[in-house]
């Protein structure tokens, strides 16, 4: 079945100017987001995953710019947008974003009702009673009980999980087609995390959304993602369906990221941890960015950037290991265990 493309990124490069030095944050990324899917972008802090998605809604910091490349959305090229007026036709209306920390992303001086109403008034033109009715409906949708009473309350009267629900309500208030969730659950407890993920899944169904999750925790996305893209040092090193990435990962970085999950740790043994630190993006990167931290790196990894090898039509990997001339390197033990687990993972 041919899937419809919602958003298509072509050879995107993003740079920042930091005190006169140039930082190459996004290095030549191409990726397609399909309509109605849920895509997860996974990587360490500083890998550029947030910067990458911020380019979709024109929220790059002032010292950053799109150096080259295209972001095609419908018949528009978002990368060529210059003015705030152009962005307002996309931001919120077409693509909305849920930010990480519910403690800081709400205005503490305004009631919840006013904050959600503001978005509705601006984008849907509803006023007065009609606006309030719409707010109450959305509050109900995001699982806030007693919306009438909650409508008049301030953010400090809400718990962390409830605030995140409000932030989600604001994002979906203007009926966007695409929802970007930037670490939606990192600041929350596990039990609340599971509930918020459940809520996002239900909203996706109800509003027919395309969702993009950003997270550093691969464990979180198994539940929600149809497809996963793994980012490292401003580049996407591997992407595929979530089954492909979890059960048959190919890139050494994906191996390392999966192996370091505490869920796979054994008592008495050391947890797997990635040695070294991510590369400094002020310097130009030669070859495979992960090579210096990869104990089994090949010689060519240090010289030339690997091309995108195709494993299956949906699964692509940027690693020299996939080259027919490369030596066979077995994935580490943890990865084999994951494959064995295939659908039977439990705690017992």
């Amino acid at each position: 079945m041919e899937k419809e493309v919602a958003l298509s990124v072509k050879n995107l490069n993003v740079k920042f100017n930091l005190r006169g030095k140039i930082l190459h944050a996004i290095r030549d990324i191409s990726l397609e987001v399909y309509k109605g899917e849920s895509l997860a972008i996974v990587g360490e802090s500083g890998s550029g995953k947030s910067v990458f998605t911020k380019t979709f809604i024109g929220l790059l910091d002032k010292n950053g710019w799109i150096d080259s490349g295209e972001i095609l959305y419908g018949d528009k090229n978002l990368a060529a947008f210059k003015t705030e007026k152009e962005w307002l036709t996309i931001r919120g209306k077409e693509i909305a974003m849920v930010l990480q920390d519910p403690m800081t992303s709400l205005n503490p001086l305004k009631t919840i009702g006013a904050q959600i109403g503001e978005a509705i008034e601006m984008h849907r033109g509803l006023k007065g009673a009609a606006c309030k009715a719409a707010v109450l409906e959305i509050l109900q949708d995001v699982g806030i009980t007693e919306p009438e009473r909650r409508y008049k309350q301030y953010p400090h009267e809400f718990s962390g999980g409830m605030r995140q629900r409000v932030v989600i309500a604001i994002a979906v208030a203007c009926k966007p087609k695409t929802l970007i969730c930037d670490e939606p659950t990192t600041a929350l407890d596990v039990t609340i995390q599971a509930q918020i993920l459940d809520l996002l899944k239900n909203l996706k169904k109800k509003y027919d959304l395309t969702t993009i999750y950003i997270t550093h925790d691969l464990g979180v996305v198994a539940n929600v993602a149809d497809r996963i893209a793994v980012m490292y040092a401003g580049d996407i090193v591997e992407y595929g369906t979530s089954e492909e990435v979890f059960y048959d990962p190919k890139h050494p970085y994906t191996w390392a990221l999966l192996s370091s999950l505490p869920q796979l740790g054994k008592k008495g043994e050391d947890l797997y941890s990635i040695k070294g630190t991510p590369p400094n993006l002020f310097n130009e990167i030669h070859g495979d960015a992960f090579a210096p931290r990869n104990p089994k790196a090949l010689k060519i990894d240090f010289i030339e950037r690997p091309p995108l090898f195709e494993v299956t039509p949906t699964h692509k990997v940027r690693s020299w290991l996939m080259d027919p001339r490369a030596p066979k390197v077995e994935p580490p033990e943890h990865i084999k265990e994951l494959r064995k687990m295939g659908g039977k993972a439990t705690w017992q």
Binding site: V190, T191, H216, D217, G219, E243, L257, P262, L271, A345
Partner: protein
């Protein structure tokens, strides 16, 4: 495992109650909690935010005053009024590692000062050279370079900052460390490094940990015994493997089901268990704290305990 290790008690907590506010606004956040921590073990404390897990840690280290109950460390009562002498000694014996490495370091002090600040408070003054030596050693112990001591916290990444926090605790040569969510603010890949460091230090120095977290997946890896706390009350306590194999209390089950597994097929089939405290009917029978199998305690009334026993077999 706690079984193999000495059964010598390092810390005893008996019927601890902690409250905030006065009179009409009194709010009991830790209600009648009792547990022992043995020498050399890692005792895990799990619960959601607001459950009182941090308050227990802070009561032990004497930041929060207790309402009633006893906290006994090495055979001596340490809550309530104690002598200045004892207080000073305890400060070095019990140390704490905090959650957010971005907020818990003094931004305007150099690493050298941050790490050695605790030493300055000792009665016997330590000469400058000796202090420098100790800082260097503490930094090396946590995998940082001694050169870092002249830098400021903002020059470090989150993982490195957390290591500075650990070095600051280690330099006091504590016996007991309270680690309050030491890894929740860190990236997954850095988490592994910090956890490994903590367990390595424990082996080398025979440390005892109270490890506070909201995430059971980490606990399985690091803790010998786990206590689950809900709304200021312990609901289950057991050896890690027993607890994971036979979770009895519905709240423990809900916590376990909430852990995301790196297995997409299983995850997409998973039905989330949500804990609803109203399932307990405690109006007639009051709940009791029962040892249901060896080293495995659970809270419940007679009917519930009966059901739990059945599910064990």
């Amino acid at each position: 495992m706690a079984v193999g290790k000495s059964k010598e008690k390092l810390l005893e907590v008996k019927n601890l109650k902690v409250s905030f506010g006065e009179h009409r606004h009194k709010n009991v956040v830790v209600n009648d909690v009792s547990f022992d921590i043995y020498k050399g073990e890692t005792f895990g404390l799990v619960g959601e935010s607001g459950s009182g897990k941090t308050t227990i840690g802070r009561a032990i280290i004497r930041i929060n005053p207790t309402l009633s109950g006893d906290i006994i460390f090495n055979g001596q009562k340490i809550n309530g009024k104690i002598s200045k002498e004892q207080d000073r000694e305890l400060t070095s014996k019990i140390q704490m590692i905090f959650q957010d490495p971005m907020a818990s370091l003094n931004e305007r002090a150099k690493v050298d000062y941050i790490v050695s600040e605790g030493l300055l408070n000792r009665k016997v003054k330590i000469p400058k050279e000796k202090r420098k030596e100790m800082v260097d050693k503490a930094l090396l112990d946590v995998g940082l370079l001694p050169e870092f001591s002249s830098r400021f916290p903002h020059e470090f990444s989150g993982g490195q900052r957390q290591r500075i926090g650990i070095a600051r605790a280690l330099i006091m040569e504590p016996e007991f460390i309270i680690a309050d969510e030491p890894i929740s603010a860190l990236d997954v890949s850095i988490r592994a490094q910090v956890l490994n460091l903590l367990s390595e230090l424990q082996k080398k120095r025979n440390l005892t940990y109270l490890f506070i977290a909201h995430d059971l997946s980490v606990m399985r890896f690091i803790a010998d015994r786990i206590a689950v706390i809900h709304k200021g009350v312990f609901v289950e306590l057991g050896e890690t493997e027993k607890l994971f194999k036979n979770p009895l209390h519905p709240y423990t089950k809900a916590l376990l089901s909430a852990i995301p597994m790196p297995d997409p097929i299983a995850e997409k089939k998973k039905v989330l268990t949500v804990y609803d405290p109203s399932i307990h009917d405690y109006s007639v029978q009051k709940p009791k704290w029962v040892e249901i199998e060896e080293n495995h305690f659970v809270l419940g009334n007679d009917t519930e305990i009966g059901q739990y026993r059945k599910s064990l077999k």
